[in-house]
């Protein structure tokens, strides 16, 4: 929280002499209430300073006529490798997966390349904020248990420091489970019915990993005690230092767990450890729903456009996941978990709407829900006085592929709606 406060100060400093923009006569969809038709929104010093039926432009303000247009908060993608991975197949361009089982000291943020072409590509589709995950997908190696700290960042900035919203948004944990770490693979229907040696070995391996995980948390707590005691032979340990906010319940664990059994185990474990958790890419949401709801644990759903895991599953299993989460009363946001799909985030959400999710809930899953889940509900995710001016002005339903973005603001700065791909398009259109 202190960190966020500091950030806001620095953001304000950067925009002290910043742009003043008045958007007028636009339909404003704030996400925290009913839309304001034909309203105005005033941006100053990087923030939304006022929203009203008819605001007058301060002296020197740029006025944007919004007649027939709509204003929405920018999208938040809750699971990406933005800035950490450039080209999928080229190892040298991947910084997502480090070596080591317990690596809480690693921070995704400082490995983020602000000049990654991906930022320009996703920005023009309205993605203003993203979670950058360490160890996500394991394409750069990975496969550890605690893989590092996920960063909440803006998709614009000269440096990763300028892009930062929170460098320690969550600690990423691949929860050991019978179906493999993160709950992928294995025998989904008969996890306990495989009477062969490798099954038993696998279960032993899981128990062994959980024992290691518990031991690591025990050690982190001992470290905390030792640090508080200020003993003469106390040595600072970077791994355990990084664990302090987690064991103090200040930083959530973002837990990769897919199956209901793994989700249940992870919840029971988190209660024993007294830590806050949010799940990444759970698959069996319907099954785990009641428990998630009862314990008030949010989830980040993976791609809606994804194949069913089992041959006999319903063809629309992926499409209906968000609706299942909604029906269960679970708080959720969406992530695309692969850089090349980030720009399709709103279309993924639209598919969920086609398969049952109410439109408003889909909008929330890309805006206010993730803002709150990632501890930035007071900064981003809705159009409210005092929040950062992360917003887009569009000519239709923002989840409809036919809709075009006319203006985009990140921290009150108007973003040029161009990128490498648009420049290539213009260049080759002009070829005779």
């Amino acid at each position: 929280m202190k960190l966020l406060g500091l950030l806001m100060v620095s953001a304000m400093a950067a925009f002290a002499a910043g742009e003043v923009v008045l958007i007028q006569n636009a339909d404003i969809y704030p996400m925290n209430g009913a839309p304001l038709k034909g309203g105005s929104l005033l941006i100053q010093d990087g923030k939304i300073v006022d929203i009203g039926a008819k605001l007058t432009a301060p002296k020197g303000a740029t006025v944007l006529e919004g007649k027939g247009l709509r204003v929405y908060p920018g999208w938040i993608d809750s699971g990406t490798e933005l800035g950490l991975e450039e080209i999928g197949s080229i190892r040298e361009t991947n910084d997502t997966g480090e070596i080591g089982d317990f690596m809480p000291q690693l921070k995704a943020l400082s490995a983020v390349n602000p000049d990654s072409e991906h930022f320009g590509v996703v920005r023009v589709n309205g993605i203003t904020t993203a979670i950058a995950l360490p160890g996500g997908g394991g394409r750069g190696g990975g496969g550890g248990i605690i893989v590092g700290q996920a960063a909440l960042l803006h998709t614009d900035g000269w440096t990763w420091e300028e892009m930062e919203i929170n460098r320690s948004a969550a600690m990423v944990l691949n929860f050991p489970s019978a179906a493999g770490r993160g709950g992928r693979g294995g025998m989904p229907d008969f996890p306990d019915m495989v009477p062969n040696a490798s099954g038993a070995d696998a279960r032993r391996a899981v128990l062994d990993q959980i024992a290691k995980l518990n031991a690591f948390f025990d050690d982190a707590r001992k470290y905390k005690t030792a640090k508080a005691a200020n003993l003469l032979d106390f040595h600072k340990d970077l791994k355990f230092e990084a664990m302090l906010p987690v064991i103090d319940g200040k930083m959530p664990l973002a837990v990769n767990a897919s199956r209901a059994a793994a989700i249940h185990d992870a919840i029971a474990w988190s209660e024993k450890q007294n830590v806050k958790i949010v799940f990444l890419q759970p698959r069996e949401v319907a099954k785990a729903g009641p428990e998630l709801k009862a314990k008030n644990i949010p989830v980040i759903l993976g791609r809606v456009l994804t194949l069913p895991e089992n041959e006999d599953a319903e063809y629309d299993e992926g499409y209906t996941q968000p609706f299942e989460a909604y029906k269960a009363g679970v708080k959720f946001a969406l992530g695309t978990f692969t850089n090349e799909f980030v720009r399709d985030l709103p279309y993924q959400a639209a598919t969920a709407v086609a398969y049952g999710l109410p439109h408003d809930e889909a909008m929330k899953a890309l805006t206010i829900n993730p803002a709150q889940i990632w501890g930035a509900g007071d900064l981003i995710g809705s159009l409210e006085k005092g929040k950062l001016a992360d917003l887009m002005i569009v000519d239709g339903d923002p989840m409809d592929v036919r809709t075009q973005i006319r203006h985009l603001f990140i921290k009150g700065k108007e973003i040029t709606l161009s990128n490498k791909q648009i420049r290539l398009y213009e260049r080759y259109m002009s070829r005779q």
Partner: protein, 449 residues
């Protein structure tokens, strides 16, 4: 002979004798009738009438589709579903002797999932491990039918070529080319784009000599002589068919340089490239592609997954269209295949195609590219009744497929699918319980456990 037997089998199988009228839908025909609100009449598997007002034949099944959209069945110009096991005979640089037709698996669940995404026809291609790959063919997604019955009757067969990273990977020690068991394969030529060009030119050099031999033989036979036939070479036979324009060449490619190379190699050897597949940098050489007369079948917005996809732009389809290239959007992927309709929608967003131009990219354009546009690809009288009904504007993600017909037979119905769900879940639970019980019994019989 084989063709005759196949014909007989198909004749025995009654198509759909019913007459169906789909009425009050917004019909996006992709044909001369454009877009209109009205009806389509289907009889014996064919479209027999369409218009704002039609005569409803007596006894016809009427499907009320008010507020819904009817489009031609989606055609995926690049898919690898419905194959048994590997579709990549990568052990040799030229594998034109192998044929996807021999490994069709009609039980692949991907067929049903594609169907549920509105796909009625898919071009099933060999993999891209070699410069000249195997023979290919389009299938109709007739879920529940045999392998033979999936085959798109009368379609010109194809062959897969591949340029760039994939075919050279096996020859490159740093390329990560690995066998199934993880063993590194070393030394399969080629290892560079130069070598890929050479493999193709060498193969056609041989194929042309082979064709000369056979042409001479055929000429002698025509004169009533009885010469000794040349030796049949299955590898060169497929390339001879390419030279005779009896087999379409579908070329996997990414970069502009290799696309241009392929055009020149084809020009020099006297054949045409039917389609460039993926063709992510096609926009850079759209002029040359159009001049050659090749089609382009691309992804809407995939990029950055490998270095040769670094300059991919989502405007590729629109730009090539504007420059006179016949463009389709394909999937190459069992998941993407399920929503090619929204891939077409992206052509509206990126590059401003109108709805007819955009929808054409997954219907009539791929039909033309595969040479099957006389029977499918648009809603026109006389064409196969391959139709998809959506509950909203079909290129928006807010819409979902409601019903799919192939040859007038309904192969997918969302309402029935949803209604059957509970029964299917119950059946599965029953089987699981049975399995559990059997397993429990088995354990108790073991004395040492």
């Amino acid at each position: 002979m084989k063709k005759l037997i196949l014909g007989a089998l198909l004749a025995l199988e009654p198509l759909c004798a019913d007459t169906i009228v789909i009425q009050n839908a917004t019909v996006m025909t992709e044909g001369p009738k454009g877009i209109f609100k009205g009806s389509v009449v289907v009889r014996d598997g064919k479209i027999v009438d369409l218009g704002e007002k039609v005569m409803v034949p007596a006894g016809a099944t009427v499907i009320e589709a008010g507020g819904q959209y009817l489009i031609p069945g989606i055609i995926d110009c690049h898919s690898h579903i419905a194959g048994s096991g590997s579709i990549n005979e990568g052990s040799v640089s030229v594998s034109s002797m192998v044929n996807i037709r021999d490994i069709i698996n009609p039980d692949d669940i991907a067929i049903y999932r594609a169907l549920a995404g509105g796909v009625t026809t898919a071009n099933i291609l060999h993999g891209s491990a070699n410069s000249i790959g195997g023979q290919t063919l389009p299938l109709k997604m007739r879920w529940g039918k045999s392998a033979q019955e999936l085959i798109f009757a009368g379609a010109t067969p194809g062959i897969k070529f591949a340029l760039g990273e994939n075919p050279k990977r096996a020859g490159n020690p740093q390329g990560g080319g690995r066998g199934a068991a993880g063993a590194i394969q070393v030394g399969r030529y080629p290892a560079t784009r130069m070598g890929v060009e050479d493999v193709i030119r060498e193969a056609f050099n041989d194929a042309k000599a082979y064709k000369v031999e056979w042409d001479a033989y055929d000429a002698q036979v025509a004169k009533g002589e009885h010469p000794i036939p040349p030796r049949t070479d299955l590898k060169l036979q497929a390339l001879k068919e390419v030279l005779e324009n009896k087999r379409y060449v579908h070329v996997h490619c990414y970069r502009a340089d290799e696309i241009l190379m392929m055009i020149r190699a084809a020009d020099d050897n006297g054949f045409k490239v039917r389609t460039f597949q993926h063709v992510l940098e096609g926009y850079k050489v759209a002029k040359e592609i159009a001049e050659h007369g090749a089609g382009a079948s691309t992804f809407s917005d995939w990029w950055a997954y490998k270095i040769e996809a670094i300059d991919a732009i989502p405007f590729n389809a629109a730009l090539m269209t504007k420059k006179g290239v016949l463009v389709s959007l394909n999937s190459d992927d069992a998941e993407l295949m399920r929503h090619l309709n929204t891939e077409a929608g992206k052509a509206m967003k990126y590059g401003g195609m109108n709805e007819t131009e955009a929808l054409a990219m997954v219907t009539i354009n791929p039909a033309k590219q595969l040479g099957i546009d006389k029977t499918v690809g648009s809603i026109e009288v006389g064409k196969d009744a391959d139709l998809v009904l959506y509950d909203g504007f079909p290129m928006s993600d807010f819409a979902k497929v409601q019903k799919v017909w192939i040859d007038g037979a309904q192969y997918f119905d969302r309402d029935k699918e949803v209604a059957a769900q509970a029964a299917k879940d119950a059946e599965k639970q029953q089987l699981l319980d049975k399995e559990k019980a059997a397993h429990g019994q088995q354990s108790t019989r073991r004395p040492n456990q």
